[in-house]
Symmetry: C2
Subunit: 189 residues, 2 copies
Amino acid sequence: MMGIMGRWQSGASGRLKDAALGLFLTQGYDGTTVAEIAAAAGLTERTFFRHFADKREVLFVDQDEFERVFLSGLPERAEDPMTMIVGVLDGAAALFPEDRRPWSRARRSVIAANEALQERELLKMSSLAMALTRALTARGVDAASAALAAETCVTVFRTSFALWVAEGERRTFTEIQNAVLARLQALLT
Amino acid sequence: MMGIMGRWQSGASGRLKDAALGLFLTQGYDGTTVAEIAAAAGLTERTFFRHFADKREVLFVDQDEFERVFLSGLPERAEDPMTMIVGVLDGAAALFPEDRRPWSRARRSVIAANEALQERELLKMSSLAMALTRALTARGVDAASAALAAETCVTVFRTSFALWVAEGERRTFTEIQNAVLARLQALLT
DNA sequence: TGGGTGATGTCAGTTACTGACATGACGCTA
DNA sequence: TAGCGTCATGTCAGTAACTGACATCACCCA
């Protein structure tokens, strides 16, 4: 472990993430420079860019872990696409317990206030859909159906997530997501 | 009236668009500076940024016109969401006649090679979905169904477009899109 | 005890983007 | 025809995101 005054305190990446989110919440994303974030974490601007590919990425590194867990909910056995998608959605819902809702709201408010951050979030969702598409084709689903099923799966998740952070504490994520899926099926009948 | 034109040579915006696309195709997006684009169009960097909000936008200004036409395919009378969506998709297909396919391919290749451009495209699609959501709610559809229907509509369009530029000249856009929609309905049964 | 490794600092440089102000052609009007 | 206002453009200085090259310093290990 490191001494208090050591040049290298551990958890540089985590400190940068915390400092960034805090500054974004108080000053806004555009009103915060990378140099400020780094200084708040006791580091330099150059070090920030060694931990994150760009300024936006500091809010999205956790998303990579999310993608991994999200995809792990996919059944190994090849069944019909719809069954697999439901499996993924059930697994995803478990990632958003009730006590994470306030944190998700705060984060959401930062992203909602900035178009550049929305772009990055959309890219992450797109990458998620593409990964899901690959996983489905690897399980024998034809390319067109796989792309469609994956996109639909992500759409259901995104819509459910938006409702979950927007509404009160009435329904759990799972309940919301089941309702969204049922509604989509009704819509296309 | 040339109110919209410049005073010396007209069509500054168009010249910048053409120069940009040409340079992106030969040098790549990252390998091309805004100063180069402006010089190729006989203008200065500063003028480029008076016509386009940022470097990426030069490839997406046409998209705004596209959004307008896309939404104009929405029936005025309030029917069920599914019927309205089919109307929008039919109208959208008319925007992509066979002779536009090579141009779409070229443009697609530039965007596919750069993540920043993909982000912008996703943002445009998202804005399209939100506009469609608003239009649907304005026609009496409840918020949740409207969001879901709009997202699904855009998903079908995007999937169809991807297939259209990817495959040969066998099927028209309309044929592809109808097949995609049918497949989605079968998927969710 | 000395060297290798890896995370950090330092610094110079490029490029996207912006604000402030100057300029020069065009249209309008007296 | 002269004068005047407008507006797209040019010029210039400045900020901030990001990068490459090289130095430094703590830690581990032989």
